[in-house]
Amino acid sequence: MSNGQFEPRLVGFLCNWCSYTGADLAGTARMIYAPNVRIIRVMCSGRVDPQFVLKAFKEGADGVLISGCHPGDCHYQEGNYKALRRYKLLSKMLEQFGIEKERFRLEWVSAAEGIKFQAVCNEFTEQIRKLGPLNIGPNGGKHE
């Protein structure tokens, strides 16, 4: 909490080939953006197992971002389409668990799009700040 306002804790799964490089560009270009996204590099957005997303929420993330190459640009040809299909189905399922759609986001960020990465981080942070904490916590499955 800075200035008493809620600081969302966000987890971002970024693909090695485009989005992580895009984030790297934002950093080396000294762009200023919300520091709330904790980045985890994965080889491909298609490598993001839905279990990772659920675990992130369970362990205290208020929002989860998956970011990969633009459609057609996947280093492994179709991984990002797979990510998109999983994202759509998982979003629908998360709502059944009472986790709002806005808390789970998929963005295409290329290696050249440092500016887009900056905007995504800022927007996502503000959006979740408005939504407030998720409050499921690691104790959800433990005995009451």
Partner: protein, 326 residues
């Protein structure tokens, strides 16, 4: 009663009675079991009481088979009592192993379940809105009922469990194997699920009918299609939990031309059965077009209830977020 025979107890928590039936279904083989052990507690069939169990020395029961999920304080108390009195505890059946069908209650909480059950169902006639209370005073006397929890738990979320017998209900041969393994002392490492650690598809007779590249263009519910009795369900566009479910059930559903619902839970390699199945299903949707993806996703009416039909309490999220329940 001979004291040399190992003592066995059976108990039920939040369950339908099918697991009790699975023991009776051992048919003549139950006589062999009865000959080899002393059944010291079995509320569904024998007239022993809680106080009889309390009177036993700690650890004096060789093995307790407990079926059903834990939903009430009474079930928790009995599970803890049997744990104390037993050397081994076996979670018998899906509800006790994973949370099972009663575990789907975790999409609600006590308040919403009570409102539905005692007020809003069409057949309910309850103008005074009477609901069960933990304490009620009648003619100056206090009556008590067990506490109803907001959340349903699998057995191992409440007590330490040694082995798991999966299935809704567990099939005969798995029960017999478990009993003979216990009697002969040939037990696998603690915590094992007593069924082979591979997916149902590995054993499925329809596996050969599966195309090399399995894809789905449209999801159909079983009643919407004439199901081919030989062909892989997923290849017919029908959701079958086989890829994310442990084998050992004897494919009872598949042989009745019904897809797998996932009652055996995941294999040891998988943490969350529903998420893993979601992953597999989304992977085989044959489209790169967003609108088509939306259409397919829309046709899956209840993803959470379908993918976690038997395993919600033991899944990563375990329940619906409390503050989102209205």
């Amino acid at each position: 009663m001979s004291s040399a025979k190992p003592k066995v107890a059976f108990y039920w928590c939040a369950s339908c009675g099918g697991c009790e039936e699975s023991i009776v279904d051992l048919a003549e083989d139950i006589l062999k079991v009865v000959a080899a052990v002393d059944i010291v507690f079995w509320p569904v069939a024998l007239d022993f009481k809680k106080k009889d169990v309390e009177a036993m020395a700690d650890g004096s029961i060789a093995v307790s088979f407990i079926n059903g999920a834990v939903r009430l304080s009474e079930q928790e108390e009995m599970a803890k009592l049997l744990r104390r009195k037993s050397q081994l505890v076996v979670a018998h059946g899906s509800c006790s192993h994973l949370g099972g069908i009663p575990g789907l209650g975790n999409f609600w909480n006590k308040e919403t379940i009570f409102r539905r059950a005692y007020e809003t169902t069409p057949s309910t006639d309850n103008p005074k809105k009477v609901v069960p209370l933990e304490k009620t005073v009648v003619d100056g006397k206090e009556l008590t009922l067990p506490r109803f929890y907001d959340t349903v738990y699998a057995l191992d979320q409440v007590i330490d469990v040694d082995y798991y017998l999966p299935g809704c209900a567990p099939p005969r041969d798995l029960i017999l194997n478990a009993v003979s393994a216990i009697l002969e002392g040939k037990l696998p490492p603690k915590g094992a699920v007593l069924s082979p650690n591979k997916s149902l598809c590995d054993d499925c007779d329809r596996n050969e009918s599966k195309p090399d590249k399995l894809t789905i263009k449209e999801i159909k519910r079983p009643w919407e299609v004439m199901l081919d009795p030989e062909k892989c369900f997923l290849a017919q566009g029908v959701i079958c939990m086989g890829p994310a479910t442990r084998t050992g059930c004897g494919e009872r559903c598949i042989e009745a031309n019904m897809p797998c619902r996932g009652c055996f839970g995941p294999t040891d390699q998988v943490y969350d059965q529903g998420a893993k199945f979601l992953s597999a299903l989304a992977s085989i949707m044959e489209t790169k077009d967003e609108k088509e993806m939306d259409k397919i996703v829309q046709s899956i009416v209840d993803p959470a209830g379908t993918f976690y039909r038997f395993s919600l309490p033991t899944s990563i999220l375990a329940r619906k977020r409390m503050e989102a329940i209205k």
